[in-house]
Amino acid sequence: MNTKLKKKSSMSISDIITQVILVIIAIMFLSPFYFLLVNSVKSLGDIMVNAADWPNQFNWSNYARAWEMTRFPEAFTNSIIITVISNLLIALLSAMAAYRLVRSNTMFNRFVFMMFVSAMVIPFQSIMIPLLKVVSWLGVNNSMVGLILAYMGLGIPLSIFLFHGFVKSIPMEIEEAATVDGANSYSVFTRIVLPMLKPMMVTVIILNCLWIWNDYLLPSLILQSPHLRTIPLATFAFFGQYSKQWDLALPALVLGILPIIIFFLSLQRYIVEGVAAGSVKG
């Protein structure tokens, strides 16, 4: 046991060299964040003189101004509401549909599933123009409802595809036993199937969270009112106005990426596993 542990932890010379090279690459990978962070607390004059130096004084007021001018709390709240509600609805509706499509293998359902899968190759840009017309027909243009509705339709195909593969791997005996015991289809689904779907649920939610939280194009088309802006929209508007005023633009960017970085670092194991699971199934 002891020798085995020792053997595992000691690295050969070539491994050490590999590690050194990888660490150097990692530092290069992180260097944009260094530039971003150190300059976000400098005065504009100092940024112009030398963008690589460590700040000689920390102007935290840059952040206070960016926080107010981007109306960060509002944008953050909007992003949270849109991401959370869209995610819950997509995950629930996709799980339900995938369950039925697997368990009731009729010709109609096979056709429906095929349609969901084929729709995954349609690029968003090739349907966005008429989609806006549909959204305004429904009277939900310039509202969170309209945006969430669009996210549901757009997010459902991939999510159904992922759940579909997972449901197929669940043996039917458990559900059959429950049915014999007198449970109806709906309680079989909510009490037995849904809890078993949990691993794939995590994957689906993580993939959709990253997509919806970071999305710019769709909200920019649907939401026009400034007070509905999500973080990417608020950042875009702000950056357009103050793009040469780096002492305001940089702290705004730091604020913009902070929530998702914190989300990632605190859940990174699930996120990395979710990404791997989500794509290997494809």
């Binding site: 971003l36 690029p123 008429p130 757009l154 289809s185 710019y216 913009g256 990426i257 794509s279």
Partner: protein, 293 residues
């Protein structure tokens, strides 16, 4: 019996109905409408929409140099971007599956750019290209850092490539890591005992066995780069003189800047056909190369 079928129908409606409804509203209906509008002169504002037959397509193929430029830009971007990001992702994965202590830390760092959206990443890099590189250039005197990165056609192209690879390599790395870890240790040991060099093991054992991951990673990288919009918007806005304008951005501009919705939907339809064809061909080609151990 009748009761049973109506219960089945109710279940079908409850389980599949909502998903199908939202799917139809946001994908099927716009898709079909787009096909119709691509044969019209719809301008997005006026109520009258006139059927113009193939005029939009004629216009696009014979008289639209910006579309041709953006198509060519997107093709070059996709070829270079897909190759580089896959090489980077694969080699990071290859070395991170070796016995390295800082493995988990490194994996986290390489993946991190991916969780930030393309728009914000592009803005961060705009600063790096404009101020960061300039400063590094002054200090080190290296010509590489003193190029007019975002202000020139050629360097603008490479600037977007660089950010694209920086953003996406980590995602592909995660998929490659999962796949390399699945290659059985017995096969690797057998190859070593037979006297295969490291390079031979890589080329003749690992790569053929991870072909399913290659299929997926190529698919993802092609679809990201072909549909690229956010990075393009935040880095160069298509400039200078529309020389770095992607297809997706060309479609967007035609509809929402020029207010030619009919022409825009025609471009969008062409865009869909190209994306569908490329992804189908690619999946077919790499699926053939998949083997079992």
């Amino acid at each position: 019996m009748k009761r049973k079928t109506s219960a089945a129908l109710a279940q079908q409606l409850v389980y599949v109905g909502p998903a199908l409804l939202f799917f139809a509203i946001t994908i099927i209906v716009p898709f079909v409408m787009g096909m119709y509008y691509s044969f019209t002169d719809w301008n997005g504002v006026s109520g009258t929409v006139t059927w113009v037959g193939l005029d939009n397509f004629k216009q696009i193929f014979t008289n639209d140099s910006a579309f041709a430029t953006s198509f060519w830009f997107t093709v070059r971007f996709t070829v270079v971007g897909v190759i580089l990001t896959n090489l980077a992702g694969f080699f990071l994965a290859y070395f991170l599956t070796k016995n390295i202590k800082a493995r988990n830390w490194l994996r986290t760092i390489f993946f991190m750019p991916n969780v930030i959206g393309g728009l914000l990443l592009g803005f961060i890099w705009q600063f790096i290209f404009i101020k960061g590189f300039a400063t590094v250039g002054e200090v080190t005197g290296l010509a590489f850092f003193q190029l007019p990165w975002l202000g020139d056609e050629v360097t603008g192209f490479w600037a977007i490539i660089m950010v694209f690879v920086w953003q996406s390599a980590g995602y592909l790395m995660v998929i490659y890591i999962a796949s390399i870890n699945n290659v059985s240790k017995d096969v690797l040991e057998a190859a070593e005992i037979d006297g295969a060099s490291r390079f031979q093991v890589l080329k003749s054992v690992i790569v053929p066995l991870i072909m399913p991951a290659v299929t997926i990673c190529l698919f993802l990288a092609i679809s990201w780069s072909f549909k690229m919009f956010d990075l393009n918007l935040s880095l160069t806005k298509g400039g200078p003189y529309r020389s770095t304008e992607s297809l997706a951005m060309n479609v967007y501009n035609e509809a929402f800047l020029n207010n030619r919705y009919g022409l825009g939907t025609a471009k969008a339809l062409i865009f869909f056909v190209i994306v569908a064809l490329i992804t189908l061909l690619q999946v077919r080609a790499t699926k053939k190369k998949e083997v079992e151990a």
